[in-house]
């Protein structure tokens, strides 16, 4: 059985699981309505109490929508943050907190960190398995944009070669992210530091924007990228190159004239080599090498408990709302007790009366759930836009099969619970119902 299951494609497994979760509701529907045609009557009841029904549907929709929206959002955030780290296979920094360094390098949330020296950089750059070793120097800013010093090679890697304009050719030139509020041809002066503490006149440098990289969906879309030599230059440090070669931009750097860099992004020529490089460059008191993807996944694992709690709370909330709605329906059903008694007096089988009431409740639940699916999609979309705008991490929260499974389970459970108000109406003696 498990072999058969494993042999199915992921899509097929999702479809089978959704159908399996809906199966109790479908079987119930078939059993309850078999041989009857009560649709006009159900429509009449729905129309008679249309405002109350609309309110019930809306309540269910909002609770379902919020639950689905949050679940989709949480997954979108995980995927978005993971995607933002895609270009950062391995990062080497001075020993410290991996999370702090990951936030600084991948998500451009700079911190004061120790620098790696030229010898370390040289060792990494010269390693036989390293294809890119890009120093990153951060700490300066322009407005809300981080100014990051690096190499042209890293810009190519980050943008997959999608560059409008051109790359820099001197230390007075810069390349901007897709959403940086500058245009090609603009000149600007970087400030020392970031945020409110930035010193705006600390650097006497006028930089000109010569290129713009394509949209990456990462915080780097708002960055200003400059040659790392520019950062060293505006801070009055060595240029990274021996005297006589001081006009050179980019590697190779001369370890003797290398002022230091807070982080080095490393790309190995093969996947396996990353692991070797990580262990090689994890040296006590000297360097720390980490996979941002692994740090993220540890974080996500830690947050997994919160996610589960969130899912459970959302499910409980939805069930409570649905239970309140069922209670409301139970009270409402007393209003058409007379009509139900009439049906039974006319000779309708008890199962028919039961089918009418159950279908009425189920219609509201299913309508609320379907509307909730739409609301969940809108919620996820709005939240994604807000979070993307705030973090610059592209969050594309879409409803996935997980949400459909969740919804299918909810619908099945609630259709089963809908049996209760329907049964309650049948318990009332017919004559009591007829007399109102």
């Amino acid at each position: 059985m498990m072999d058969l299951w494993d042999s199915l494609s992921a899509l097929m497994q999702d479809i089978v699981l959704t159908v399996a979760l809906l199966l109790p509701a479908l079987i119930l529907w078939r059993l309850v309505l078999r041989g009857f045609a009560p649709r006009p009557l159900i429509g009449a009841l729905l129309w008679r109490f249309r405002w109350a029904n609309a309110l019930f549907v809306l309540l269910i929709a909002v609770s379902v929508g919020m639950g689905l929206g949050l679940l989709a959002q949480e997954r979108g955030l995980r995927e978005g943050t993971a995607r933002a780290a895609d270009k950062f296979d391995l990062v080497v920094t001075a020993p410290g907190s991996e999370i702090t360094m990951m936030l600084a390098t991948v998500y451009l949330q700079p911190s004061d960190v120790p620098l790696l020296d030229g010898a370390t950089y040289q060792a990494i750059a010269a390693h036989k398995n390293v294809s890119i070793a890009a120093p990153l120097a951060f700490g300066d800013s322009f407005g809300a944009s981080s100014v990051v010093g690096t190499t042209a090679e890293f810009v190519q890697h980050l943008s997959d070669g999608k560059i409008e304009g051109r790359l820099w050719e001197s230390t007075a030139e810069a390349v901007i992210g897709a959403r940086t509020p500058l245009q090609i041809g603009d000149a600007f002066e970087p400030a020392h530091g970031v945020g409110d503490a930035a010193e705006h006149d600390a650097h006497d440098a006028d930089l000109t924007v010569v290129g713009r990289i394509g949209y990456t969906g990462t915080p780097w879309d708002r960055a200003v990228l400059v040659p790392i030599e520019t950062i060293w230059e505006v801070h009055g440090l060595a240029s990274g190159h021996a005297p006589g070669r001081s006009d050179q931009i980019g590697p190779p750097f001369d370890p003797d004239y290398f002022p230091g860099t807070p982080a080095i992004v490393v790309r190995a020529d093969a996947m396996w080599a990353n692991y070797a490089l990580r262990s090689e460059f994890t040296r006590d008191a000297q360097t720390m090498a980490f996979f941002p993807g692994a740090v993220l996944s540890n974080l996500h694992r830690l947050m997994g408990d919160i996610r589960q709690a969130m899912s459970l709370m959302s499910l409980v909330t939805q069930c409570l709302v649905a239970a309140s709605v069922l209670l409301g329906l139970f009270i409402l059903s007393r209003l058409f007790m007379r009509q139900m008694a009439l049906l039974r007096a006319l000779g309708a089988p008890a199962r028919f009366v039961f089918a009418v009431l159950w279908s009425y409740c189920t219609t509201l639940l299913v309508a609320g759930s379907v509307l909730g699916l739409g609301l969940g999609w809108i919620t996820a979309m709005v939240l994604s836009r807000i979070i993307s705008a705030r973090t610059d991490i592209l969050i594309s929260a879409r409803l996935s099969w997980t949400e459909f499974h969740y919804l299918a389970g909810f619908v099945s459970l609630m259709t089963l619970l809908s049996l209760l108000p329907a049964l309650a109406v049948l318990r009332k003696p017919i004559v009591d119902g007829l007399r109102g």
């Binding site: 009857f36 039974r344 007096a345 309708a348 008890a350 004559v431």
Partner: protein, 225 residues
Amino acid sequence: MTLPLHVRDCVVRNRGGRVLVNVPHLDLLPGASLGIRGPSGAGKSTFLYALAGLLEGMDGEVHWGDTDLLTMSSARRASFRAANIGMIFQDFLLFEELDAAANASLAAMYLPKARRTGVKTRAMAQLAHLGLDASARSVASYSGGERQRVAIARALANEATILLADEPTASLDRAAADALIEDLVNRVRDHGTTLIAVSHDARLLDRMDRVLGLEDGQVAAGALP
């Protein structure tokens, strides 16, 4: 097939055990009409419900032909009503959101598929016979007399041979009540349907073959002619 009625020692009690209706003996030939009269609270409607098999825990016998309603399960009694009895109520009890045709053919929703078309056809024929157009407007816009005609069409759409009516004219003005009595009686006479009507309306009772008087749940002395 029209069924004769035989009632023996029919006693209906409330939950506290108080006797609400006690009819020791009643026979009615197929196709006859019986009026039940009496003051309010005399147990007239309760007796009518007893004859329809709508009450639980009664004593005695209520036979429609060979069928003893009181020994049957509630499901079988419902099935018997569906096949033989049409019911008419004082306040019509229609589904206001449905049109006349859907109300009159209500039974088509729960009867087996093979019988649905027949019920719908007969419902339309009854409506036409009673002078109602089967337009798509909901019955909420109908007058009292028209609504009660829809209720009669509903009662007859399933070829009911027994009509049980509870104050069928009480919610109608005199002219509408007289027209309805005429329709009801003609219909019964033409088709040999048994009619039992609870009523305070002397004009309706006058048109019945027999009248049973009830007082405080007991058959009034000399009430059955």
